[in-house]
């Protein structure tokens, strides 16, 4: 049986006096493509930021690979965080470095590999995302979709077990979005990576998600496989899917 690689229990979070997330509990199994969705401003990115240790919740626990990153010592937390990769919404590539240097950076920081070995590994990662031929270009010199793929390559640099992607499809055209979905699916299947994706792209959810939660009004209102949730007649989820698909078809 596949074990839970991420487990969140009773997470509550507020910003200043405003409650953002209330009593959130769910778990993610190893090898899943897990989607967190919901309308804009419902707290998806806040939840993601809690999961990657950028924010401290008011209450609750976040277990990543059996390590509670809220209470863990700094050393243990860093060890756990090295096992995750994050792709931010904007890509967050370092603009003054080439794409290859961006991918090399985590390897230079955390491993004792020689420069040649780092370059070989980084080139392999770029090959996976089909960006090897653009390795020496600066992020500003490539398209938005290429920047996202480069960010995925950087997030995979240290061979993490979990990849967190924040709005990977945002701002991309349908063809590039589809290519990115295929890439995620391919990486999940071949490398047995666990993906946690924050998105409200219905096409992405329906095509790649193996499990999902829907956030609404600070809480989880639905949980399950997207195709099953879509079938629940008269539910909020069904409306969400149908309207979303209608908009994307227009």
């Amino acid at each position: 049986m596949t074990h839970d690689i991420i487990s969140i229990q009773n997470l509550t979070s507020s910003y200043e006096d405003q409650l953002v997330l209330s009593d959130i509990s769910f778990s993610v199994k190893k090898g899943e493509i897990f989607v967190i969705t919901g309308a804009s401003g419902c707290g998806k990115t806040t939840l993601l930021n809690h999961m990657i240790g950028l924010l401290q919740p008011d209450t609750g626990s976040i277990l990543i690979d059996d390590c509670n990153i809220i209470t863990a010592t700094e050393q243990k937390k860093i060890k756990t965080l090295k096992n995750i990769g994050v792709m931010y919404q904007s890509g967050a590539l370092f603009g003054s470095m080439t794409i290859l240097e961006n991918v090399c950076m985590p390897l230079q920081e955390w491993t004792s590999l020689s420069a040649q070995a780092i370059k070989t590994i980084a080139c392999n990662k770029l090959k996976m995302v089909n960006l090897l031929s653009d390795a020496y270009k600066l992020p500003a010199e490539v398209s938005g979709g290429m920047r996202k793929r480069a960010a995925i390559a950087r997030a995979m640099a240290l061979d993490p077990a979990i990849l967190f992607l924040d709005e990977p499809a945002a701002g991309l055209d349908p063809v590039t979005r589809n290519d990115l979905d295929l890439l995620i699916q391919q990486l999940a299947n071949s490398l047995h990576l666990t993906f946690v994706i924050v998105t409200h792209e219905i096409s992405t959810i329906l095509s790649i998600a193996t499990d999902m939660i829907m956030l609404h009004d600070k809480q989880i209102i639905a949980r399950g496989h997207p195709r099953q949730l879509r079938k629940e007649k008269g539910s909020f989820m069904q409306t969400f899917f149908e309207k979303g698909l209608l908009n994307s078809n227009e």
Binding site: S96, L113, S114, A117, M128, L132, S190
Partner: protein, 369 residues
């Protein structure tokens, strides 16, 4: 692991590498160096990798295997991997299946190329500066003819930022400079019994030269940098593009109020700094038992309206230069993380360099006149 544990060689120039139980990104470093060095050194006709013991392998381990394969292929020698566990085998298959064009390395430009690029960049900068100044005066002319609505709110905000907010530092710098100049002059003039002429020396230095220059240096540090950072951030956030697409010229909206405020405030700030310089001078003269009345009469006799006009004209020119440079650097900001920092530094450095050059030219001109 020692070399004996890892390598096995036979008489047929066949090298066997015995891999450890785990091949992961964090621990593979020393093994990578050992294995590659050995392969390069012994150039085996056949290289066999024995992965019997290996239970875990990530993409770094796969990268090592592919690297060995590539090196053997380059030498036109054999390569073989034995006893690889099924899951590692499938990972190897997956990772080597990605097909891609080789990276296109951008060669380091030659000295001649670099010089040429620098020359072109300098010429472009000069052309851009000239067109910027031309565009500014065109818009200024339209403004004067009342063809465009002046942004008074922005103008007063800039006046406040450049003037009142710079008063404390201008007062401090003026006072300290007056004090220092007076002490230095006093020590020399004391030998000739002409200490009263300290006032004359300080007056001429401050009104003709130092008042304007010190004010300009303060403005270069405060105003030019803030203009460059403010406009630069707007450029990165595409606010400048938004203005352009709305049909509003950034020159009219952002630059004009700033430059006019700078041009008008710099001479006022110069007078203020000179006043505090005199105050510093009086403090020193007071220690030499000169009463206020004598100090004032000496001061009025030393002040030459011509010198004061020269100083104020310089302040006007310096104010123009500083605000222009701040705005130009802001509008030229590029789109990366360090860009605003580069613009700010560039604005301050260019302002100070241009101040020195302009001051030199003006001093020569006024001397000739």
């Amino acid at each position: 692991m020692t070399n004996l544990d890892i390598f096995r060689e036979d008489d047929n120039n066949c090298l066997t590498i015995i891999l450890p139980p785990s091949l992961d990104t964090y621990s593979i470093g020393p093994l990578w160096d050992q294995v590659i060095t050995k392969q390069q050194h012994s150039k085996p006709k056949k290289l066999v990798v024995d992965a019997t013991k290996t239970d875990y392998c990530d993409s770094a381990g796969i990268a090592l295997l592919t690297e060995l394969d590539t090196l053997q292929r380059l030498d036109q020698h054999e390569f073989e991997v034995n006893h690889l566990k099924d899951d590692i085998q499938s990972l190897l298959k997956t990772l080597t299946s990605y097909d891609s064009l080789p990276p296109v390395e951008i060669p380091e430009p030659s000295f001649l190329n670099k010089t040429g690029r620098l020359g072109v960049k300098t010429l472009n900068d000069i052309r851009e500066n000239i067109s910027f100044i031309g565009e500014f005066w065109t818009i200024f002319f339209w403004q004067c003819r009342g063809l465009r609505r002046f942004r008074w709110q922005s103008f007063w905000a800039q006046v406040e930022a450049i003037g009142p907010k710079a008063l404390p530092i201008s007062a401090l710098l003026g006072f300290v400079m007056g004090l220092i100049l007076s002490f230095q002059a006093l020590m020399s003039l004391n030998r000739f019994g002409a200490t009263i002429y300290t006032v004359n020396l300080v007056t001429i230095a401050l009104t003709r030269e130092l008042g304007a220059l010190l004010t300009a240096v303060i403005l270069a540090g405060r105003t030019a940098s803030s203009f460059a950072a403010e406009i630069g951030t707007m450029k990165i956030n595409q606010e400048v593009d938004a203005l352009t697409t709305m049909g509003i010229a950034p020159m009219h909206y952002l630059v004009l109020p700033r430059v006019i405020a700078g041009i008008l405030i710099t001479p006022v700030l110069t007078l203020y700094l000179i006043f505090f310089g005199f105050l510093g001078c009086f403090c020193v003269m007071h220690t030499q038992k000169y009463p206020l009345s004598i100090f004032m009469s000496q001061l009025f006799s030393a002040i030459n309206l011509g010198d004061l006009w020269v100083g104020l004209f310089k302040a006007f020119v310096f104010g123009t230069i500083i605000t222009f440079i701040g705005c130009i650097h802001g509008l030229r900001t590029k789109h990366h993380a360090a860009a605003v920092g580069e613009s700010t530094t560039g604005a301050v450095v260019s302002s100070i360099v241009m101040l020195a050059i302009a001051d030199g030219i003006l001093t020569v001109i006024f001397y000739a006149i």
